[in-house]
Symmetry: C2
Subunit: 335 residues, 2 copies
DNA sequence: TTGTAGGCGTTATCAT
DNA sequence: ATGATAACGCCTACAA
């Protein structure tokens, strides 16, 4: 049971000929230790292959050196989402040099919300990053009020207390997309939206409407849900109602691929007859024919900031405002 | 600092009018406690919102109730991989009902291999699931020899000790794909492989060769690397060398999308002129035109088994053999 | 069935 | 600058 490879402070102290307290000091980089003592202790540590026991340390310091990334969506879609992958990459990359470890928390069922909250309140982690898209019921609100450093990826819907969050400027991103359509001479522009209980869905629609209003052009809206099927249904409805569309802004690449297929079935060529712009710049954007013109989000950067902000909050800094990043229009073949 | 919401065993005991030991017993479900005592304690627990302190518990039991899922690839591609997403979903789903938490370990740079090994050896987790694809240097071998319950996703290359692993039957999957091509009358079959330092790459090539040899048909092989660019290069080489191909088995959906594009650029229609079969059945398979016929892997199931096996090993069961699952051919429009 | 008491490996507070 | 020593919250013999 007791692997030979788990020496304690005590043993290191014995080997180095000092007290536990001193070893603890060098392990934690205290400045007031004689260089020669430090050397001796470090030699002993190396020799024994000593690694501090996290549990013992956590017990006394009341810090766990671990942060949670929580995905409170019963909806497993999140995982296949390249957005989530990027966030994860950014977070883990900035956490790596730290001693903090990343604990993944996924709520398989809504019913377990309380379990999640209890866990977070239980002091098992020093802070949490919430990657939630839907503003379902009031978990988000409860999360926001936890006595624990928290950062949201995307401004949470339905939360009325100030929270720290990092997001992309979805409104501006959508605007750029629609303006691009305008700039290449299209005037009959439609949009397929995301679900409106997500800021991403809401804001991208707003961006479209902003531009259309300003250009005094009639709107053509179909509501999607960020899934391929939903996108297909929306595309069908949109084309049924507005057969003369010459431009289409779709709120996600996945839905855009569905739109592409519907368009092709109706014999409408892209971009010649209808120009299409997506959102995300996921792999999908380069695997379709034609390849998608789309709006790129700096996902990895978002993840990195999420982690940095959380670390800062854990460090005591008070932060409760959103941080917003720019998107970039990637022009390919579809518009 | 001390949030009102972190009561201890002691406090629960006081409120319930029993000793700490008794509370501990009911918390851990000991059978030898009077029902009425249990009730009293549980009432107190509920009232106080007591949650056991993990650190204190780990300190004495020497179990951390947490398992690691480690991705020792400096190559961040893994994350965007739907395969990884599926594994993660399966793992987290079977871990959820358990008290075990999931710690995500990603090695940002190869240089940190030692750091990873030290961490794993440090007793911070009870076991680990290794999701590695490449057989680079000897980390895998070192991981396999750790005095810690370990399970590999995919039989690791270059490891000469018996290890527990769960994987899909890549050889058989590839065979099904190639046989399907044969069954629809194609005879000039080529393949685009994955990297040959991954079992997935290796085995899928073997499956192709098996069928070709048995059918006494000449082989046409181009080496890819599971990336879109690599797939594109391979497709170009393959078509340059074998202009008369009428069937193509591509070792991954992502590379298959690249092949589709190359084919289309050369004016070869799919599936009419060239039938194409991919591997993975990722989202990509349904977003291309035509949609891909491909080989599906039960990824979520693999993840679930990975977790189950690890839990069993942690529980003391000795398991050191591979577990192999079947794939399924999904016929769509490309072949 | 329940209570008492000792110890898990650290950090932190005092002395020295 | 270093060393005793007391927590931290829990589990688990052992005793009652």
């Amino acid at each position: 049971m007791d692997h030979p490879g788990s020496p304690t402070l005590e043993q290191v102290a014995a080997l180095a000929g000092v007290s536990r307290a001193t070893v603890s000091r060098v392990v934690n980089g205290s400045p007031k230790v004689l260089p020669e003592t430090v050397a001796a202790v470090e030699r002993a540590i190396g020799e024994l292959g000593y690694v501090p026991n996290r549990a013992a340390r956590a017990l006394v310091t009341r810090k766990t050196d671990s942060v949670a990334i929580v995905v409170p969506e019963p909806d497993s879609r999140v995982f296949s989402d390249p957005f989530f992958a990027g966030i994860l990459r950014g977070v883990s990359r900035t956490l790596a040099p730290t001693s903090s470890q990343l604990v993944l928390l996924i709520e398989p069922a809504e019913a377990d919300d309380q379990r999640l909250l209890r866990y977070l309140r239980g002091g098992h982690v020093d802070g949490a990053i919430i990657v939630s898209h839907h503003g379902r019921d009031n978990v988000l609100q409860e999360l926001a009020q936890l006595p624990l450093p928290i950062v949201f990826s995307a401004r949470p819907i339905g939360v009325d207390v100030p929270v720290a969050s990092v997001d992309v400027d979805n409104v501006a991103g959508a605007r750029t997309a629609v303006e691009h359509l305008l700039s290449i001479g299209r005037r009959k522009l439609g949009t397929i939206t995301g679900p409106l209980d997500m800021t991403a869905g809401l804001d991208r629609l707003t961006g479209y409407q902003d531009v259309m209003k300003k250009a005094k052009l009639p709107e053509a809206i179909a509501f999607g849900d960020f899934t391929a099927d939903g996108g297909e249904q929306a595309a069908i409805r949109l084309l049924d109602d507005h057969a003369d569309l010459d431009g289409l802004f779709v709120a996600s690449d996945l839905m855009a691929t569905a739109a592409l297929r519907v368009l092709s079935q109706r014999g409408r060529r892209v971009p010649d007859d209808v120009a299409v712009v997506g959102f995300d710049d996921s792999v999908l954007a380069t695997t379709t024919t034609p390849r998608l013109t789309t709006v790129r989000q700096p996902v990895e950067k978002l993840g990195a900031r999420l982690a940095e902000i959380l670390l800062a909050k854990i460090g005591g800094t008070k932060l409760t405002s959103p941080e917003i990043y720019d998107t970039e229009l990637i022009v390919r073949d579809s518009a």
